[in-house]
């Protein structure tokens, strides 16, 4: 007598490492972050918008951007913020992972929107409009991860 089929699942745990190229434009962002703790974007010759991440062609005007770099301010205002409550799977290491730092959309002082983490973990103290400033990894050898060379944005009093 034939048995009922067994439904079997096969786990595959091997990591799949990747090794991406930054390319010329994003490479500039990585280099400025590592060498000078600066946040840079490139400026469209036509609309003057500063793009971060930088781009060879302006997405709006569809013209060659050239090589006109602008340093972005490292201070800004929190435009909106969210924080993780339910732990997610860390997509890069496959582990349950709860980032304690709130994720914020920050309006940098030049008018560019920028997404990064906030140092302030106390949910009572989070509010839209709070003033923040980038905090960089101090150790040169730990930098080299592009915008992740900024640890988070710290609340500042002005």
């Amino acid at each position: 007598m034939a048995k009922e089929p067994e439904y079997i699942r096969i786990a595959y745990k091997a990591p799949r490492p990747y090794d991406w190229s930054t390319g010329k434009y994003l490479g500039k962002v990585y280099a400025e972050a590592k060498e000078n703790k600066k946040l840079v974007g490139n400026r469209c010759p036509k609309c003057q918008y500063i793009w971060l991440p930088p781009t060879p062609v302006c997405p709006k005007c569809k013209v060659d951007m050239g090589w006109d770099w602008a340093e972005l301010p490292q201070t800004g205002t929190v435009y909106q913020y969210t924080y993780l409550v339910y732990p997610l799977w860390d997509p890069h290491y496959g582990e349950k992972w709860a980032n304690p730092y709130p994720s914020a959309t920050i309006l940098l002082d030049n008018g560019t929107f920028y997404r990064h983490f906030l140092e302030e973990k106390d949910r009572e103290k989070l509010k839209e409009g709070m003033r923040v400033q980038a905090v960089w990894k101090e150790d040169y050898n730990e930098r080299g991860q592009g915008v992740q060379d900024i640890l988070y944005f710290r609340t500042i009093e002005e």
Partner: protein
């Protein structure tokens, strides 16, 4: 002038979080067989087959190759497309284009995702500029949490309104035997008391990860009338992939910019002389990963004026028995097998036009319907369906 194209076969699997009983080809085969049965066709009648799937979600390279035998594709022309969340929309566009161009008379569009195989959030996070947003993103959940914040701010909608959308969706899902989450919710409090995933987005504000497949058979006018007694005409479509990725910000946080939905729907409405959507279209099946996004889409698709999306749900206009029903099937918030999801939108809209949606058939007569697909970073595919041409 393109040839007329009609939907003559509709098939889908039931949708659920775990399908241990089938592998990916077997799951897709279920929907292919269902569509063939609906059209009363044999696989030999299908001239070309188009597949839509996000292969990085399941980790299966060339899934269409792997299932060629099971779905009867061997020896037939066709290919697989992957355009992120809009994949299922793109695969319908492919099949449509092949028939509209006259290259084929009968084409099959197949969308599928078996999300129990892998980690969707991992794949979505890797979709960002690769070494840019690593670790910063929380996949789609974080993005739609920010969208919810932006919508609250620009429209004045309250959490109660989002909860009403979820309640409406669940009512539809409970009447739809294929839907994934059929919760039997009784009050908005149940939604508003569910735990937060990413503040302010709650567990019940967001779609599940589903396994499932959906298949459409499209045919030229001369074949369509012979194949099915109730062909549903796919009269127009638009695809807009336009939004740039900037500084890790998905869309425009101020909510003031032109979105892909604006561009897509305005082109379709103009070409089809639609000036008052809710008067000239009878129903919509839209791609709403969250209840907040549904209200936002009401506005972006011009079902109402800016800042008024929440009023449609408050007045019950988009309910199954309402004046302009939206997502009678339960929508994406109840069922999201990603590559299949937009195919399901078109399929459910077509079932409504045919009057074959069963328990979740809209109260009003549906002669004209809209279906949409949405994908990151905020891309849109959109379709217009009609009972007669």
């Amino acid at each position: 002038m393109a040839n007329r194209v009609a939907i003559v076969g509709i098939g889908q699997t039931h949708h659920t979080s775990q399908r241990n009983d089938v592998n990916q080809p077997e799951m897709v085969g279920e929907a292919v067989r269902a569509a063939l049965a609906d059209a009363n066709l044999s696989i030999k009648d299908i001239e070309s087959m188009f597949f839509g799937n996000m292969e990085t979600f399941e980790g299966i390279f060339l899934p269409d190759h792997g299932m060629a035998a099971e779905v009867g594709a061997i020896g037939k022309p066709g290919f697989k497309v992957n355009t992120g969340g809009t994949t299922g929309g793109s695969v319908v566009v492919e099949a449509f284009s092949m028939v509209a161009s006259g290259l084929f008379d009968v084409a099959m569009a197949i969308g599928f995702e078996k999300q129990d195989c892998g980690d969707t959030t991992a794949a979505i996070t890797a979709a960002a500029v690769p070494n840019w947003a690593k670790g910063a993103a929380t996949g789609a959940i974080g993005e739609f949490a920010k969208q919810a914040l932006a919508y609250m701010k620009t429209s004045g909608a309250k959490e109660e309104h989002a909860a009403m959308v979820r309640l409406k969706a669940d009512k539809g899902a409970c009447r739809n035997e294929n839907a994934h989450l059929r919760l039997g919710l009784k009050s908005i409090d149940e939604v508003m008391q569910s735990p937060y995933l990413v503040w302010p987005l709650r567990l019940m504000d967001f779609c599940p990860q589903s396994c499932g497949a959906c298949v459409l058979i499209l045919a030229s006018e001369k074949k369509a009338r012979k194949i099915h007694k109730k062909p549903v005409w796919l009269v127009d479509y638009e695809v807009v992939h336009q939004e740039p990725f900037r500084a890790g910000v998905f869309g425009d946080p101020t909510g003031e910019e032109t979105y892909t939905q604006h561009v897509a729907c305005e082109k379709i409405y103009k070409r089809n002389n639609i000036t008052d959507v809710r008067k000239q279209v009878d129903l919509a099946e839209i791609y709403e990963p969250s209840n907040w996004e549904e209200m936002n889409l009401y506005e972006h698709l011009h079902f109402c004026g800016d800042g008024e999306g929440w009023k449609l749900i408050e007045k019950g206009i988009t309910e199954i028995e309402g004046e302009f029903p939206v997502n009678c099937s339960g929508g994406v918030i109840a069922t999201n097998p990603i590559g299949a999801t937009p195919v399901i939108r078109v399929a459910e809209a077509a079932l409504q036009v045919r009057g074959d949606a069963g328990e979740h058939q809209a109260t009003r007569d549906v002669k004209t319907a809209i279906a949409t697909a949405l994908g990151g970073p905020n891309w849109t595919a959109m379709f217009l369906l009609k009972r007669s041409v």
